[in-house]
Amino acid sequence: MREPTRRTAAELARAIHAREVTSVEVTRAHLDRIAAVDGAVHAFLHVDAEGALAAAARVDAALDAGRAPVSPLAGVPLALKDVFTTVDMPTTCGSRMLRGWRPPYDATVVSRLRDAGVVILGKTNMDEFAMGSSTENSAYGPTRNPWQLDRVPGGSGGGSSASLAAFEAPLAIGTDTGGSIRQPGAVTGTVGVKPTYGGASRYGLVAFSSSLDQGGPCARTVLDAALLHEVIGGHDSMDSTSIDAPVPPVVAAARQGATGDLAGLRVGVVSQFSGEGYQPGVLRAFDTAVAQLRALGAEVVEVSCPSFDYALPAYYLIAPSECSSNLARFDGMRYGLRDGDDGTRSAAEVMALTREKGFGAEVKRRIMIGTYALSSGYYDAYYGQAQKVRTLIRRDFEAAFERVDVLVSPTTPTTAFPLGERVDDPMAMYLADLCTVPANLAGNAALSVPCGRSDDDGLPVGLQVMSPTLADDRGYRVAAAYEAARDAAEGETLIHAVPELEVATR
């Protein structure tokens, strides 16, 4: 098989299942690629070569024995965001607090991947506890954008998206609390999907903001993302907020979309996501994409969602509030870092020292904001108001979806920004999630699909497609149709325009 790392997951699965190539060969090719380029990219915090090859060998053995593949992705490698618990690998969440922590249990998403024969290569880098938009908040150093190594890969799931763009893995898992799957997807020219809230289990996903966190698939093509979505999605009795309904037929929708017909589909362009603060090249790429959708038969209208203007401030009250409570458990008493336990200090003092040392600046900032917002006397003005805004945003979505089938916008206001540019300016950093947070606050489905490159800096741009709750399939259909049309027009998938990385010699 021609260079396995350049293939899609669907192609790899087909070839493995047809025994044209073994899962071990495919896995080894990806491990080799990681060894060659990850020094420059730093997408991974931990690579489990031995475990991955063993898992691949098990898939090969079953196939060689004549058994049917356990899933459409059996034997295909994957990169896992280091925010999901794994019994056989450390789970650090990009934090010094959890350096080397080995959980005693697998996240539900991880069990489902293992049960499906997906080969987990390792754990990917992320902003500490998923708080950030650039992966610069990782305690283990930043990940670099394969498109341009002095640029950020987005965040918090920059490691997962960069691993795809660097051809270190054909599939990845991310989590999206305010855009942490879609925004890195957009700036690395890859596909990132935030399923409907409750669409994939949160059990074993180390919580940042429980009412917003959502795990989801990352891939280089819409179909690959859909295949992965069906593996990890569905009800889990261990997660009370997981939806007890069948997974939307996203694979079928992706296949149907790829036929290129969007006749009769109503697409709404969110009028709030344009204008000041948006990079002109991003807007031009977005307009070209909208024109493409129209050409595919979609009926495009402009839709106003006035409450979206308040989404970012509401998000930056709700998410820190929940995080201030969720991260309280990191106190050095039971697991992870413990600092200052020299026999002279009280438990409270050890807790304080541990948290001082274990958390980075952004995590501390959010814990403080959230602690303040929940304090008595301030609760109504901050957390209470933010929840009201959340309701208004949900209503804006409901009203919009009465008029249109999906909403579209740029995924991010700008392309990947230079490393270090926004680290001292939290507000500028937060703006990277401007277009993505409304779907987290309302809980509906949204994804980002590559939509060409910005003509002003040559970096990838993402098209965000938002669909109603539990209508995830609509987004896949639109994204697949758009993807097929764009690839046909350009002659190749966008990701293949990514520069060759300098390969380290082994």
């Binding site: 618990t85 059990y203 996903l205 429980s210 304090s375 609760y379």
Partner: protein, 501 residues
């Protein structure tokens, strides 16, 4: 204020002040599993043997609500005449403490499952007081800290602490009264009677072990005083660590006397948590906090709201067991008891036991007599609660049955009961092992009678001469010779037949 606070004589307290009580009772439910995970809910297991990622609060873990605990909470609410909320939620109560794995407690806050009820109490003199119930809400228990290296077992002065998370996540129901006013000098008694009534109710519902000594029923007593003639509540204290019914009464009484002395001395009562000291019968101030704790409550995002359907509520309501006050009324009517007899039965803590004994087949009069007299004496001498005696109502019923059949005399029956209490097995086993059966074999008795008559020839002569009353001495001798195992009536018959003129 000195450490050993002045106390005002109780009578003087009441002359000047009216006490106001508020009682918060925490009940550990006896569900099979914990509130939010599948771990066994078991008291007294090897430390940290019933734990999992969820009750240890490990990163990534999530709670799943125990439906059985919700049902128990609703039944408690219904039995307390509360309204069941058509929609309610959990919240997070945020504070740092090492025995709390997540550093927040998942608890109901402003949206409890049951509100606005009442509980009728029977006081020692048979009068009734109704206490208003503010709310009953669900929460999870914390782990348990064992502070080591200090003389008191409290954290102050300890060198280190051991943590057992078996209790972390055990379902708790907190039941809070409305302010109890107007009970005057009976406040301490009312407090005890309330906890007693609540314990009996929970026992009837079979939702908890209700063992104060094991912490499955815990009472915090809020006490304040208002000057006679005033209607504004005074500053209250909350006394914790009140681990027995008697302590509830003592703690309230002590706080009333202490606060009265403080107020009369011109000081103000400090709003604080105090600990009851069992040995001295006094309360001691807890560590004073610089600032009042801000728990930063907010709705628990990891759980979905609970919306019990009306059908569910109705079904639970219809299937509540007979509650203590209903049982009292029924028993009094069925057994024809006077108010005083009923009161004695209740005060002895014997009502449930007698009912159970009757249910096991014993006649009410006998069952009542056993529990209220002989067994109460046994409990007293052993210094345990009646219910803690190692005899079941079913076994007692068997003893009563044997007496009824004539197989045991009352005297023998007591010795059988002694055997059962001594752990020698069931009544039939004790009868056999101790050879306590009534000697009803006439030939054996006849021999004993002849022996006795031969030993007392003058008495035998008198009987033959028609002095039947003299037979008593012979009967006594036979009873003595047979170790009390003979049926005295039969012995008398045999004596008279032998001496028939």
């Amino acid at each position: 204020m000195t450490l050993t606070a002045e106390l005002m004589p109780y009578e003087d307290v009441l002359e000047r002040f009216e006490p106001v009580l508020g009682l918060e009772v925490h009940v550990e439910l006896s569900t099979h599993t914990k509130m939010f995970c599948g771990c066994a809910n078991r008291f007294g297991a090897e430390p940290n043997s019933h734990v999992c990622p969820t009750c240890l609060g490990l990163p990534g873990s999530l709670p799943v609500l125990n439906g059985g605990a919700v049902e128990a909470a609703m039944r408690i609410g219904l039995a307390l005449n509360c309204s069941i909320a058509p929609w309610c939620r959990f919240a997070r109560k945020n504070y740092f403490y090492p025995d709390m794995p997540k550093n927040f407690q998942t608890s109901q806050y402003d949206e409890p499952i049951a509100v606005d009820g009442s509980l009728a109490l029977l006081l020692d003199d048979g009068s009734e007081v109704t206490v208003g119930i503010e709310r009953a809400h669900m929460e999870e228990d914390t782990g348990k800290s064992w502070h080591r290296g200090s003389s008191t077992g409290r954290i102050h002065g300890a060198s280190h602490s051991l943590l057992d998370y078996n209790r972390a996540g055990v379902p708790l129901i907190e039941i809070v009264t409305k302010p109890i006013t107007g009970v005057g000098q009976r406040a301490p008694e009312v407090a005890r009677a309330y906890v007693t009534a609540l314990r009996d109710l929970l026992r009837a519902l079979d939702v908890s072990d209700v063992r104060m000594d094991q912490g499955s029923l815990r009472c915090d007593a809020n006490v304040s005083l208002m000057p006679r003639g005033s209607s504004a509540f005074g500053t209250r204290t909350e006394t914790k660590n009140v681990n027995s019914l008697r302590s509830v009464e003592r703690a309230v009484r002590h706080e009333m006397r202490r606060q009265a002395a403080v107020l009369v001395g011109g000081d103000t009562v400090t709003q604080e948590t105090r600990h009851f000291d069992e040995s001295s019968g006094t309360t001691v101030a807890g560590r004073r906090k610089e600032t009042s704790e801000d728990y930063r409550y907010f709705p628990e995002p990891d759980l979905v709201p609970i919306a019990p359907s009306q059908e569910w509520v109705d079904r639970l309501s219809a299937t509540l067991p007979e509650l203590p006050w209903q049982r009292r009324a029924r028993v009094q009517a069925d057994w024809g008891l006077s108010d005083a007899e009923l009161r004695d039965l209740v005060n002895a803590g014997a009502l449930e036991l007698v009912v159970a004994t009757v249910d096991a087949g014993a006649p009410p009069a006998e069952a009542r007599s056993w529990w209220v007299s002989y067994l109460s004496q046994q409990a007293n001498s052993r210094e345990v609660e009646l219910a803690e005696l190692p005899i079941t109502p079913a076994r007692l019923a068997r003893v009563v049955e044997l007496v009824g059949e004539g197989a045991l005399t009352t005297n023998l029956a007591r010795r059988v009961v002694d055997g059962v209490l001594a752990g020698e097995g069931g009544p039939d086993e004790v009868v056999q092992a101790r050879e306590l059966a009534v000697v009803s074999d006439d030939s054996a008795l006849q021999a004993a009678v002849d022996e006795a008559l031969a030993a007392q020839p003058d008495v035998a002569e008198k009987i033959r001469g028609g002095k039947i009353a003299a037979a008593g001495a012979v009967v006594g001798a036979v009873m003595k010779a047979t170790g009390g195992q003979a049926d005295a009536k039969r012995v008398r018959e045999l004596v008279l037949a032998r001496c028939a003129p």
